[in-house]
Symmetry: C2
Subunit: 332 residues, 2 copies
DNA sequence: GTGAAAGCGCTAACAG
DNA sequence: CTGTTAGCGCTTTCAC
């Protein structure tokens, strides 16, 4: 374990000069710099990030807290974020919040958040009050579709608009008997209510009254749950010719459920998802879906983070990303 | 920002006593303890993990370094690991290594590894020499199928055996013209060579000579690549009746490619994958595959980590997890 | 059972 | 341009 003092001794300078060289501060003579860098090289010195943070309050690390590691949506977002952060000399560590009931609170604890220069918090599954109680020593930017305390910067998708585009597309391609595979009304603004509203509005604008039994209520947004629900529904109601699935994972289940019922996608039933997971492109047929524009989210999240880290003061930003339609084979 | 001194002052004790209470050390009087805990509660104190680590060298955090966040295999492993670590009072942070060429080295730097009590390093894509050059201040346990320096603890799957079981199953279910969707021989022991060897051995044991053109060489283990390669192959060679895909992601592409060629799974071509990704179960037909037994890996990895963290000395362990067959609809 | 002193490795602030 | 001093918040050590 070599320290800065070791390097300083080896180079015949003070620790402060070593620190100045290593952090690229301007006031170091060129030959002193070379001598220090040689000593660093020779001793294999690497900075102790823990000590650096304790003193300076910075490490270059950004935290991303997601509800679960095994959902591809977060994996795809995290991958893009990691690349973008690496490009600006930072790095990303991802933590999972709701591995267990207590895990949720533990991951959000002051102490753990404080290990990062800033934190991106994905609020899926968190409630307004949980987040409102949060006290963080570092800047926090919220990501996700829940209604959240306005004092935070918050980036979300155009859920209503995306669902509207998805549904309008189904109608345009000739579907008339539309279902939505979603959840029940939770009584507060959420991804579910916003996307359901978009599905409803598109039909009203086309002069269609949404079917009263149009919502297939799913206990969980998982493929297996959707698959069984869709199969059961189609067996008693074969008139259905279009289904908007509230997420791509649900859409994967919907497509399997349609097949289980002996029907074909897209000839008998057209399907549109929401999330544009990489895998949707590889199915046969490939999934028509709404793109959550991760690049857009990453770009704007990083801008907010950098400005907050720099201490810039400005009112909390509430950004809504576009959510364009991606047309593939699951619609005609 | 309240510190331990603030709490000590509020409770009328020394910082040392606060530290003792908070860390459950035995030598504190019951009523002192209550007084301290009250002060902690009142002031909303939370420990500064950075300071704690600088002094004690421990934070309770375990690092998992994966090649990429957006591969579901790692997501599923990380999720299970996070749950298990939470249960023992630790927590998991996941970092991505090869977001870029330099990212790989950066993620493995001494400095970054040192922010954890121990590190699980997934070595997919890393070379023997990269890992051999690694100097870490904390225990490192290797995860993955590459050949690695024996001085590390290393957990891998039974690649050859799993591939053998997958192939034997295809033969048992009547397939006779077998392909493997894999990569070329890289000239060193790897996941590719081990799984290809298992595929070969199963055929030899059944009295079949593996076809010289039996390996569909994929430029990358991605669904899109496999899909196109399989479609092209089946169009010139319709006699194929069984394909072992080297990973589930490849298998997803293989199944789509079979359909693209106008054939059916499993009636015309049977398919077996390797990884048991959650999604494989939701396809129609569901994917027969080899289970990488994440639970087994997690259990053994945690055991090694805890013992190394505790400073226990023992020879490097090289463990091979079972890799059982999971039979579903993609085989008859 | 409790506390005082020392210092983990680094950097901010300032002196030279 | 370079060095000195002080101290981030905590735990280790050892004295009482």
């Amino acid at each position: 374990m070599t320290t800065m003092s070791d390097v300083a001794a080896a180079a015949g300078v003070s620790v402060m000069t070593v620190s100045n060289v290593l952090n690229g501060r301007p006031k170091v003579g060129p030959e002193t710099r070379v001598r220090v860098l040689e000593a660093v090289e020779r001793l294999g010195y690497e900075v102790n990030l823990t000590a650096k943070r304790l003193r300076s309050g910075r490490t270059g690390a950004i935290g991303l807290i997601v509800p679960r590691f095994d959902h591809p949506y977060f994996g795809e977002l995290a991958a893009k974020l990691a690349v973008a952060l690496t490009a600006v000399g930072r790095h990303l560590a991802v933590e999972q919040s709701n591995a267990s009931a207590e895990g949720e609170l533990a991951a959000l604890s002051h102490a753990r958040l404080a290990t990062y220069d800033a934190v991106l918090l994905s609020v899926v599954g968190l409630h307004y009050d949980d987040v409102d109680r949060l006290r963080s020593a570092v800047p926090v930017v919220l990501l996700g579709e829940q209604d959240m305390p306005p004092r935070y910067d918050h980036i979300q998708l155009d859920n209503e608009g995306g669902a509207h585009r998805a549904t309008a597309h189904l109608l345009e391609r000739g579907a008339r008997n539309l279902l939505i595979a979603a959840g029940g009304d939770e009584g507060f603004p959420s991804m579910t209510t916003a996307r359901t509203a978009g599905w409803r509005r598109a039909q009203l604008e086309a002069g269609l009254e949404p079917r009263p039994d149009g919502v297939i209520e799913l206990a969980a947004y998982e493929a297996a749950v959707a698959r069984e629900a869709v199969r059961a529904r189609l067996e008693v109601d074969p008139s259905v010719d279009g289904i908007f699935a509230i997420t791509d994972q649900v859409a994967f289940g919907v497509m399997a459920g349609v097949r289980d019922a002996g029907l074909r996608v897209p000839q008998d039933v057209q399907v549109v998802g929401f999330d544009n997971l990489a895998l949707g492109e590889q199915l046969a047929p490939a999934l028509t879906t709404i793109d959550p524009t991760h690049d857009w989210v990453v770009e704007h999240a990083m801008d907010l983070l950098e400005r907050r880290i720099a201490g810039e003061e400005f009112p909390p930003q509430h950004l809504v990303s576009p959510a364009p339609l991606v047309i593939r084979g699951s619609t005609r």
